[in-house]
Amino acid sequence: MQNINDVVEILLVEDNPNDVEMALRAFKKNKLANSIFVVEDGEEALNFIFTKGKFAERAEKNLPKMILLDLKLPKVDGLEVLREIKGNEETKIIPVVVLTSSKEESDIVESYKLGVNSYIVKPVDFDKFVNTVKDLGFYWLLLNERPY
């Protein structure tokens, strides 16, 4: 269903399929679901962003408009992915919103240090989550024009 060369507006990095489903449902409710590309671990996320591995064929310039990044990921964890994205001149302009089930301060602090743009604790209450996603989409995708 996803084509690697489609224009991707939102890259969702999430390993938990339930959370992916709920996220997509939330995006869908906010009419944002068409341009979402989902990868399930940090490695894939990096490959996607830096067009490596199975995403080597993907057009480099086709960068997502927003990245939703879970921190607890298999292989390469979210903070590492964040560091790579924010450490690269090309990719650091992409807004990254950290999604996490934890309010652990160390994570939050570390994320902001690495240049995260927003931080969302995944709520148990799905309705709250939908509202949050709505706010996110509105802000980062619609209001916050990219500089180029």
């Binding site: 938990n16 339930n18 934890s102 309010k103 652990e104 709520p123 148990v124 209450d125 799905f126």
Partner: protein, 861 residues
């Protein structure tokens, strides 16, 4: 040669001159010890020495000796003995002299001889009719008998006259044997032999006519070798009897008639021809010669005499000069007074002392001489002199005079009388100028007095002792200290026995150990202050003394002892010593105490060290615990992380998908189905809340505290504003005091207020009185904050459970809650070092108190 036969008389003359000439010297040089002498006489040398019918010693020599001895006042005892015996006795001193001894070279060594008074020639006696012996040489092979020890024996042996010499004890024996046909010849003196034969009545033995020329014998008196006194006297006696014809009388008595009578006409003629004529001629010649020699000798002797006199005079002159000089130097003069004539003679020294000139003053007026003296002495001198003349006793005075040349002099006058037959005939004396000596004596006396004054004015006792330890002097202080009244009780006494005989402890103090005496025994000063001295009343006192040897011309003659009573000083010393001992004891005690303390301190220090060690080990243990704690904190963190992520994900899914089910299949669920779904969702949310609270509690426990000063008023108020809903703000009466600030972590304290205020709101929600009061109390070191409501309260019996995790006193359907809020509050308070407690009653509200350390600022406000 024949003249020698009668040389006897010649020698007598020669020796008599000589003897007279030397007589004064003999007198001068020799004095005889005894006036009675013992001589020995032979019994069988007629007619010189023999015994008469009565056994008395008689003979020419004996008479001569007695006469000579009588002339010089010698008494003579005669002992009779054979020749050898008496010869031996004289040699060994048992006899004083022998009257008849032939002078031979051998005897010169044993005896001294007087001048010879008789000279005899030897003759060869043979039996009548013997032929063939015409000279001495003819005796060579003949048996010749001589008396043993006689000079005849000496002669025959000396000259080796015969090969066959036989000796007999006496000449009598020899002649008897010869007469009876033994021997060929007997040799002895002619005169003696003839006399002996006659006496024995032997006519068959005759002397041969020829003379034995070399057997001439001079006879003398002999004395022991060296007895020159007796020798001189005997010589003198001999000279006298020769001079006064006694000799001639004795000779005539023994020889004159007897010889003449016994002589034949032929013999007389022969003697006249052979002896007297030549003798007369020779004597004349010798007489002239001797006279000339004598004149010459006497002249020389006179010259010598004159020379001697001159010498003597010269010596006298010199001696007089010497005397004068000596008198001048020693300022002495000598005098003599002749009692009969009244003449007084002075030496030069006398004139010098009186300041007179010899030719201007005549000293014979005794009284005038005394005018030089001061009257008080003059009288004394005259009296003494008169006394000497009367009693014959000497005098010795000292007097003062004024000399003619006006000099005052002190003199010593001494006179000594010469007494003859109880009469004073002369007085000798001298006069000694003692002015200088007197001055010296006066000074010595004065010095003595000064020293005595000095001695007596010192407080120390001073006394002197001689080498025997006897007191020689002592001063007044010594007497006083020793308790004597008078010096005489001490002077001359043995001081050790008197005052130093016993030691302080009552034991005897032997003189040999006395330290005072050691001063002169050792020759150096001694000192002691630990002895006692004894007073006359038998008591003693502690004394200190110095004893120093006194030296005179380098010799130690005694010592001087200085001493004083130190009883008081000793007592003071004793007291001082006691004080000192006391002090020392105290010091010792203190020192011991101090040492004790120091020891205890050391022990404490050790204990401290052990404690420090323990602390160190505890610290190590604590560090280990802390490390473990940190480890477990990390684990807890990891756990919390895991819980927050992994436990919530399923909750999210449960809740989310329950919602999807409700949304997507609402039409297919009935009412009960919807209710059950909603229960699922509520529980999921509740579990999420529990997890969140647990994580929160865990975070508070682990969080680092950032201490700052916290404005508690503003914090509490803002929390109320933050958590109270608008409705609640209207319903509740909220009062808050001006809380003092606290030192703590603002986030944690915010959490604290939030939970407490939240609780107050929650538990008052169903009460009529909705009132919340926040206030404080404070004391010196802490502030107690409290929050009071009038809500549901609690049963005080469970108040211990209020702060336990998940401990709830209300059911969920009464008041919702997880049971973690107060646990969080307690944890925050504890982490700030404070305490928390609560008062309350069921349905009547509750008050929560917590204490915080005061901040400086809070104490100011």
């Amino acid at each position: 040669m024949k003249y020698r036969i009668l040389l006897v008389s010649l020698f007598l003359f020669v020796f008599s001159f000589d003897t007279f000439a030397h007589q004064p010297e003999i007198d001068k040089q020799n004095t005889l010890k005894s006036d009675t002498i013992t001589i020995g006489s032979e019994p069988d040398y007629p007619p010189y020495c023999m015994v008469d019918e009565n056994g008395n010693a008689v003979g020419f020599s004996l008479d001569l000796f007695k006469a000579a001895a009588a002339a010089v006042d010698l008494k003579v005892n005669v002992k009779i003995g054979v020749w050898n015996r008496i010869k031996q006795d004289l040699a060994e001193g048992r006899l004083d002299a022998l009257p008849l001894v032939g002078r031979t070279p051998e005897r010169e060594e044993i005896f001294d001889f007087t001048m010879p008074y008789l000279s005899m020639h030897g003759a060869v006696f043979v039996r009548e009719g013997t032929k063939g012996i015409n000279s001495v040489e003819d005796l060579k092979n003949k048996e010749v008998a001589v008396m043993e020890g006689d000079n005849a024996e000496e002669f025959v042996r000396r000259k080796n006259i015969s090969n066959k010499i036989i000796t007999t004890k006496t000449f009598e024996e020899a002649f008897r044997n010869l007469a009876s046909g033994q021997y060929d010849a007997v040799i002895t003196h002619r005169v003696m032999g003839i006399n002996l034969l006659k006496k024995m009545g032997i006519e068959s033995v005759k002397p041969l006519d020829f003379q034995i020329q070399e057997f001439r014998q001079d006879f003398c008196f002999a004395v022991q070798e060296g007895n020159s006194a007796l020798l001189s006297r005997l010589n003198e006696g001999l000279s006298i009897i020769i001079a006064n014809d006694t000799y001639e009388k004795i000779r005539l008595k023994w020889f004159g008639p007897a010889v003449k009578e016994g002589m034949t006409a032929k013999e007389i003629a022969r003697i006249t021809v052979y002896v007297f004529i030549p003798l007369f001629l020779i004597m004349s010649v010798i007489w002239i010669f001797v006279l000339r020699r004598e004149v010459k000798r006497r002249t020389k002797s006179l010259e010598e005499e004159i020379s001697r006199h001159k010498n003597t005079l010269e010596q006298l002159r010199k001696q007089k000069l010497l005397l004068n000089e000596m008198e001048k130097i020693s300022k002495v003069g000598g005098w003599e007074y002749d009692v009969q004539t009244g003449v007084i003679n002075w030496t030069e020294g006398m004139y010098n002392i009186y300041g007179l000139k010899r030719d201007e003053y005549e000293p014979s007026d005794y009284r005038k001489n005394t005018d030089f003296y001061y009257p008080e002495y003059k009288k004394q001198i005259i009296q003494s002199f008169a006394n000497t003349l009367e009693t014959g006793k000497p005098y010795d005075l000292q007097a003062k005079l004024k000399s003619a040349d006006n000099e005052e002099k002190w003199v010593r006058l001494r006179g000594r009388p010469e007494v003859v037959n109880g009469e004073v005939v002369r007085v000798y004396g001298n006069l000694l100028d003692v002015t200088e000596m007197k001055l010296i004596n006066d000074e010595i006396k004065e010095r003595g007095e000064r020293i005595s004054l000095l001695l007596n004015s010192t407080a120390e006792g001073i006394y002197g002792i001689d080498l025997e330890g006897r007191c020689t002097f002592c001063n007044t202080s010594a007497l006083e200290l020793l308790g004597f009244d008078d010096k005489n009780q001490v002077i001359g006494k043995n001081m050790h026995d008197l005052i130093h005989h016993t030691r302080a402890d009552g034991t005897e103090y032997p003189e040999s150990e006395c330290r005072i005496f050691q001063a002169f025994k050792a020759g150096e000063g001694t000192h002691a202050d630990d002895e006692v001295m004894w007073k006359s009343d038998g008591t003693s006192f502690q004394a200190e003394y110095f004893s120093y040897p006194i030296r005179q011309d380098g010799e130690i003659i005694g010592c001087v002892v200085t001493f004083w009573d130190i009883t008081q000083r000793k007592e003071d010393e004793e007291e001082l010593k006691n004080l000192k001992d006391d002090l020392e004891r105290q010091v010792e005690e203190r020192t011991a105490e101090l040492q004790d303390k120091v020891e205890k301190l050391n022990k404490s220090q050790k204990a401290m060290l052990y404690m420090v060690e323990d602390l160190n080990s505890i610290t190590a243990e604590l560090q280990e615990e802390r490390r473990k704690l940190e480890l477990s904190n990390k684990e807890l963190e990891a756990f919390a992380y895991s819980v927050s992520h992994d436990l919530r994900a399923p909750l999210r899914a449960i809740n989310g998908f329950s919602g999807f089910l409700m949304e997507d299949y609402a039409d297919k669920l009935d009412k009960e189905g919807k209710r059950q779904l909603s229960v699922i969702r509520q529980n999921a949310e509740k579990m999420d809340a529990l997890i969140a609270d647990i994580l929160n509690l865990s975070r508070i426990s682990r969080a680092e505290i950032n201490f700052t000063e916290v404005d508690m008023y503003s914090l509490a108020k803002s929390k109320f504003d933050e958590i109270a809903t608008d409705e609640e703000k209207q319903e509740f009466e909220f009062s808050i005091s001006e809380l003092p600030p606290a030192v703590g972590d603002e986030n944690l304290l915010g959490q604290l207020w939030q939970n407490l205020i939240g609780n107050a709101l929650k538990y008052s929600s169903k009460s009529e009185n909705k009132r919340i009061e926040i206030g404080y109390r404070e004391n010196s070191d802490k502030v107690i904050y409290y929050i009071k409501d009038e809500g549901a309260g609690f049963n005080p019996k469970y108040k211990d459970k209020l702060f336990g995790v998940f401990q709830r006193l209300h059911r969920d359907n009464e008041f919702e809650g997880t049971g973690v809020g107060l646990a969080v509050v307690q944890r925050v308070v504890h982490r700030h070092g404070g305490e928390i407690w609560a008062d309350g009653e069921l349905n009547k509200g509750a008050t929560f108190y917590f204490s915080m350390r005061r901040s400086d600022k809070s104490s100011n406000s």
